[in-house]
Subunit: 430 residues, 2 copies
Amino acid sequence: MTFPRIDETHDAALTCWVEGAQGHGEFPVQNLPYGVFSHGDARRRLGVAIGEWVLDLAGIADLLPVGRDLLGAATLNGLFALPAADRLALRRMLSALLCDESKRARVAEHLHPAGECTLHLPAAIGDYTDFYVGIHHAADIGKLFRPDNPLLPNYKYVPIGYHGRASSIRPSGVPVRRPCGQRKAPEAAAPTFGPSARLDYELELGVWIGPGNALGETVPIGEAADHIAGFCLLNDWSARDFQAWEYVPLGPFLAKNFQSTISPWVVTAEALAPFRQAQPPRPEGDPRPLDYLWDETDQAHGGLGVELEVFITTAAMRAAGLAPHRLSHGPASNMYWTVQQMVTHHASNGCNLAPGDLLGTGTISAPVPDGYGSLMELSQGGKVKVALPGGEERTFLEDGDEIVLRACARREGYAAIGFGECRARVEPAR
Amino acid sequence: MTFPRIDETHDAALTCWVEGAQGHGEFPVQNLPYGVFSHGDARRRLGVAIGEWVLDLAGIADLLPVGRDLLGAATLNGLFALPAADRLALRRMLSALLCDESKRARVAEHLHPAGECTLHLPAAIGDYTDFYVGIHHAADIGKLFRPDNPLLPNYKYVPIGYHGRASSIRPSGVPVRRPCGQRKAPEAAAPTFGPSARLDYELELGVWIGPGNALGETVPIGEAADHIAGFCLLNDWSARDFQAWEYVPLGPFLAKNFQSTISPWVVTAEALAPFRQAQPPRPEGDPRPLDYLWDETDQAHGGLGVELEVFITTAAMRAAGLAPHRLSHGPASNMYWTVQQMVTHHASNGCNLAPGDLLGTGTISAPVPDGYGSLMELSQGGKVKVALPGGEERTFLEDGDEIVLRACARREGYAAIGFGECRARVEPAR
């Protein structure tokens, strides 16, 4: 397993010449996440977040060790396809340019104020797969949907996943319309069709696939890290009433595919090198994963030291000028499987993963109420009201509610690496 | 509901000047399916099957009522995106050209012998969704996976579907490698990893999406036919041992996504106009579909008069010179929901469908043994051996087995409309 290493690009003492970037809480020079932006009426182009600026990569293509065709593209798919070594070389050059005062004049003209930029989906997403590796979420939801049988026998052997909808993934900021669909109360004789009454968010990490594998080939666990280009936040909006009625036997469908929201910046695997950590040991009595999923290095370094948060702002809170309310927070270490195990499992049958494919981790909940990653868990299936500032309460989302997911990697002696935000507001049903 | 109408392009008396096309059993001039082909080393281009020939559309672009940009593309996505009226205009012009002897000199030079052409995927498939509308298959499989509970309460209200893998769809002719994965015998304490011992095919129709809908919009049932560009055959290869172990609670994943095979010709909705028929009435006691899925015209004309067949040839049969053996045959009318209901349901929550998306119907089985659309059903879950010519038997597929799906629409007074073949041979696991 060859994870990106800690190198000079992570040095907390780096000095960046970009105004306001030094010590920036999310996008210091040690981060350098990639994205796709537009400025004014101009076409979509590749950028890097640095402080409160976006650096136009095509503008400095002649300074970078990557083909101009890739840097002039409107999606990151080409960059994701590069071997890990080439992605690292690009990161190093960007870091060097942004810390070298002598390059300032040449580079600074390609910086745009972030507030003037529109951020788009970073890649053309070929296939989107959602996993279910947040074990506390799986147990919480299992209890609600299947009281007798919360965590199924396969859970500790199989990184459970399913295919999601790629076409309806949208970047932060695009509103989400409350979906209509079939829902049936347990006591009702038949379902009815109408707006979801149990609209929920889910706090997830997204994983951007790098080079990938050809059909019929696999990604051995020892090589999985090479195929992970970066990470984002993912809000897997869910209509719990539709889900309960439709999901047996073939899984969630219309309960999920009306929209998913991602944060637009791709935090690279290289940027997160200092925040790799040991995967928490499996509880006593849990089986050891099968050999194809087992790698000592992955267990020792394959975890992610990332803290996650969910905030809500209701229409009434906005009107009253109240600050966003934090609904939950917790660490990504509540994943039962590493992201490398997700990749290896996905390709273990020869299924081909491609640059720009997106994997979701599934909801990451902590085993304590202030770490629950969905309202379904916070409200115990709608039975308990969640108190909000200003006297409001929620079991599920109401129109006008805005959900913001945030994530940050922190470690003593290193600059904090932020993910930016994953934000969307609920609009009324049609 | 505006289905394509029967018009002069369906006239059985049309005379086509292409050698051997007159009375062709699959691709007469009344069919005109679209595909993507290459000839020699040349790039991929759009073609139409006519008899044993492929007509290069880019070569006659100046004669056709469609933009040269669409006809010069390497996928059909652009054509699929056209309004139904434009697709019809193109069909009419092609029919006229191929029946007008005076155009022969101009058009014939763009005909290539089909045997010299390689056929590719017809479109860049954005998202692939597999439904489960073959009610006899759902009941058969339900009995095997859930003896107590074969057909679930939602089945007669919800056109059940789930997202599949787009990246691993391959055209007819590409071999399928036996996948490895986790399987657990009921009596075993733990799963093991290895080649599937219960590899199966599934007989399905594929539905190519036309213009589609924007995110947050829907496709009313009365307009659904306008968003169906055409049809193909789909073999949804399935590893039944993986499926049984992994599919609860989120549905099939690695049991299906290692490969799916489609027939490369897109039989247009227009070509099938004479073969539209009434949807069989629901059995006494079944609920009426909810309003958003209900349309009288759809019930009267939304069915498909298409006959389906599955053939197998084993390695031993090939060596002995034996003909392919027909495993099953039956009509597409064994679908509980119409393809229009599938489209409308899929978009009912605002999920955006796009040109080139592919829907599978799910396995279409007849309620009699010689109509079962999978070995899982023919062998009753592996318990009964299926006899083959030459003394062989099968419960599931063995290496070297080749499966061919075929379909044909027939009706007195009309030319037969064939789908071509959906063929693939099983290769040993890695």
